[in-house]
């Protein structure tokens, strides 16, 4: 993780800790007693607050390809990038505030989310002899940090018992809070008659200005486990990016990678997220409460 990521994560963890500590303090001091019918009625509604951690795997979907190099006598498609999808894990960590009522949960999950994807591209030049052939290949890894604000609805498939599978979906808006690109270059020279490759440099660029916020939706499912007066939920969601994450206005602004032809494509940032949530009830009956 980069220092930025650590900083965001530590701040979020602090907030999570304070909120959860406050909620558990509340549980120890509130001790109402309810009759049986009211007890069952009480169980139909609940507020949950907790934290979630997990990982992401990004699969960017390029809509249109761009380069700061404009070809005079070859096809622009020759400059297109090849993306590696769902291969670079990122972290996610955040809060989960959920309102539960009769098997349906609605919640928001403000989450720090790191999305990482890679791509490669190749430039080739030819002369009148094979010795004048030259190649430059670029491998880039783009790390994007977002504060993701999703609104999610979940439906319990089983509404009784301690293990409750669920399905759900929702919409999200992700705020771009950081970006960093690392590019390595390998040149292949044929001057001596046989191809010879060599490392031509490695560059790390902060390129947050090249990206913008995005809107999307997500769907997936999971299972929650209700033990020890907390709910532990494991979920897998597929996130569909609806809007372009690349800032078209900043695409051709000069930066360290412009000379390499490297500018962002228009792309939707689809990704998979796998997370585990630890949720604490905000309403309770008494200290002998056996809710399930």
């Amino acid at each position: 993780m980069t220092p930025n990521v650590c900083s965001y994560a530590s701040k979020l963890l602090t907030v999570c800790f304070l909120l959860i500590a406050a909620s558990t303090y509340g549980q120890r001091t509130m001790k109402p007693k309810l009759p049986n019918s009211d007890y069952k009625k009480f169980l139909k509604t609940q507020w949950w607050l907790g934290m979630r951690v997990g990982t992401t795997l990004s699969g960017p979907s390029a809509k249109e390809t761009f380069s700061s190099i404009d070809p005079i006598d070859y096809e622009v498609e020759d400059l297109s990038k090849t993306y590696s999808k769902y291969k670079n894990p990122g972290v996610l960590i955040g809060l989960d505030l959920t309102f539960y009522h009769r098997g349906v949960s609605a919640g928001i999950q403000p989450t720090f989310k790191q999305l990482i994807y890679g791509y490669s591209s190749l430039l080739q030049w030819e002369g009148t002899t094979p010795e004048q052939t030259f190649e430059s290949s670029y491998d880039s890894k783009q790390k994007l940090n977002y504060l993701d604000i999703p609104f999610i609805l979940k439906f319990d498939i089983l509404t009784d018992g301690k293990i409750r599978p669920f399905v759900g979906g929702g919409v999200n808006y992700a705020f771009n809070i950081g970006a960093e690109k690392e590019t390595s270059i390998v040149n292949t020279d044929n001057t001596s008659g046989t191809p010879r490759s060599y490392d031509a440099g490695n560059f790390v660029v902060n390129n947050q200005d090249q990206f913008k916020n995005f809107f999307g939706m997500k769907f997936g499912g999971g299972v929650s486990f209700d033990y020890f007066n907390i709910r532990t939920a494991i979920d897998v969601f597929y996130n569909l990016g609806f809007t372009n994450v690349s800032d078209e206005n900043a695409r051709y602004e000069l930066n360290e990678l412009t000379t390499l032809g490297d500018v962002n494509d228009d792309l939707n940032l689809n990704h998979l997220s796998v997370a585990v949530s630890f949720l604490f009830p905000l309403r309770y009956i008494d200290n002998t409460f056996q809710p399930y």
């Binding site: 190099i69 030049w125 002369g127």
Partner: protein
């Protein structure tokens, strides 16, 4: 539940308010597949569709650099290119516009005569040969839309400054001695064939109506010569080809912005009073060497105006970037600066201000560290305001 929904909707709606920002700044590099061709851009001119870039095309088949014209749209995207045949070589700026056509100089490699080449926005090309005007060195237009041509007469061994009308017809001119017995032919040939090592900053232009200057060979040195198409009224003498002026811009009255070189040093003065009716030496203006620039750097000076008038000086830095510095024209005070280029070397060819007050920087860069290609950097006027603040 309702409150939660309201809150979420509010967050999403607020987040959808995107910041609007100018979209017109760009940096584009124009590449060819050929590893045995290199481009040295000369100048850029604005057209209705976008821009035309004039470039020297180094071809293996010909001795002198060929002529290439590229049309670029307003977003910097390459649209089309035309290479003139081998009978037209050595494109020479400035690239000037009169009415709906854009003009530059070239040379016939057989006769060595200068040619005025005109091109319209659709890249339809016409050429007019300037018979008897040999070895074209610099080109400009006057305030009354005549062409000012700086050339070198091989037969007479003289520098020639001449005026031509829009059809290329000679209207006035004057030869200037390079010094008795001083043959500068080799210097000029080397300037053509090896511009990177032996290029010289030939220039010509108008100080005021009927008053002209040229930067070229005069009286044993590479000098800035002020004249009225007659004997010089004033001279800034260089030191052979080892010292002299690189660029000059009349600011107002007797004030000029200048950039010069003295062996491997450079110097500049954004506001320098020069008596164009007297003889001085370029070294007189070297008060402080500008150590940030490479030896014998190309330099361009243009005027830029928003609410204030600025002098923009551009040159190549030791770090192989192009530096653009803005000075307040009235005071000569530095107001802002920017470097262009990363990783690979960036060289300067031309600086222009377009009709929307954006700055255009044309030059070359070495793609993958070895292939010389043209780049065009457009700095939007709003971005210039950021630089100046």
């Amino acid at each position: 539940m309702k409150k939660l929904l309201y809150l979420s909707t509010l967050v999403i709606l607020l987040a959808c308010e995107e910041e609007l920002k100018p979209s017109d700044s760009f940096t584009k590099i124009y590449d060819t597949k050929r590893s045995d061709i290199k481009y040295e851009p000369v100048d850029v001119v604005e057209i209705e569709e976008g821009f035309i870039i004039l470039a020297k095309e180094d071809r293996e088949e010909i001795t002198y650099a060929g002529v290439q014209l590229m049309v670029i749209d307003e977003d910097g995207n390459f649209l089309k290119a035309v290479s003139m045949d081998d009978n037209h070589v050595l494109p020479t700026g400035n690239f000037v516009t009169i009415e709906d056509r854009n003009y530059f100089l070239a040379m016939n490699p057989s006769s060595l005569d200068a040619e005025i080449v005109s091109v319209d926005d659709s890249l339809n090309i016409e050429t007019v040969t300037l018979s008897g005007i040999q070895y074209p060195l610099a080109f400009n237009k006057t305030s009354d839309n005549q062409f000012l041509v700086l050339s070198y007469s091989l037969d007479d061994g003289e520098t020639v400054l001449s005026l031509h009308d829009i059809n290329g017809v000679y209207s006035n001119g004057h030869p200037f001695t390079t010094g008795a017995g001083n043959d500068v032919t080799d210097d000029i040939i080397n300037h053509y064939l090896d511009p990177q090592r032996s290029g010289l900053p030939f220039k010509c232009g108008e100080v005021s109506s009927g008053s002209y200057y040229f930067n070229g060979f005069y009286n044993f040195s590479f000098s800035m010569v002020f004249n009225k198409l007659a004997a010089p009224t004033g001279v800034i003498q260089g030191q052979g080809t080892n010292g002299g002026m690189t660029a000059i811009l009349p600011v107002d009255g007797s004030n000029f912005a200048i950039f010069g070189f003295q062996f491997n040093d450079n110097f500049y003065q954004p506001l320098q009073s020069i008596d164009i009716n007297s003889t001085t030496s370029s070294i007189d203006y070297l008060t402080l060497p500008a150590s940030e620039y490479i030896a014998r750097t190309a330099a361009k000076i243009v005027s830029y105006e928003n609410e204030t008038k600025y002098t923009v000086i551009a040159a190549e830095t030791q770090s192989r970037q192009v530096n653009i510095s803005f000075y307040e024209a009235e005071t000569g005070e530095l107001k802002g600066s920017r470097n262009i280029g990363f990783i690979n070397p960036f060289n300067l060819s031309s600086v222009r201000v377009d009709s929307e007050n954006n700055l255009l920087i044309l030059g070359s860069t070495l793609v993958s560290g070895r292939f010389q290609r043209a780049f065009l950097n457009k700095i939007h006027s709003s971005e210039i305001e950021d630089i100046l603040n």
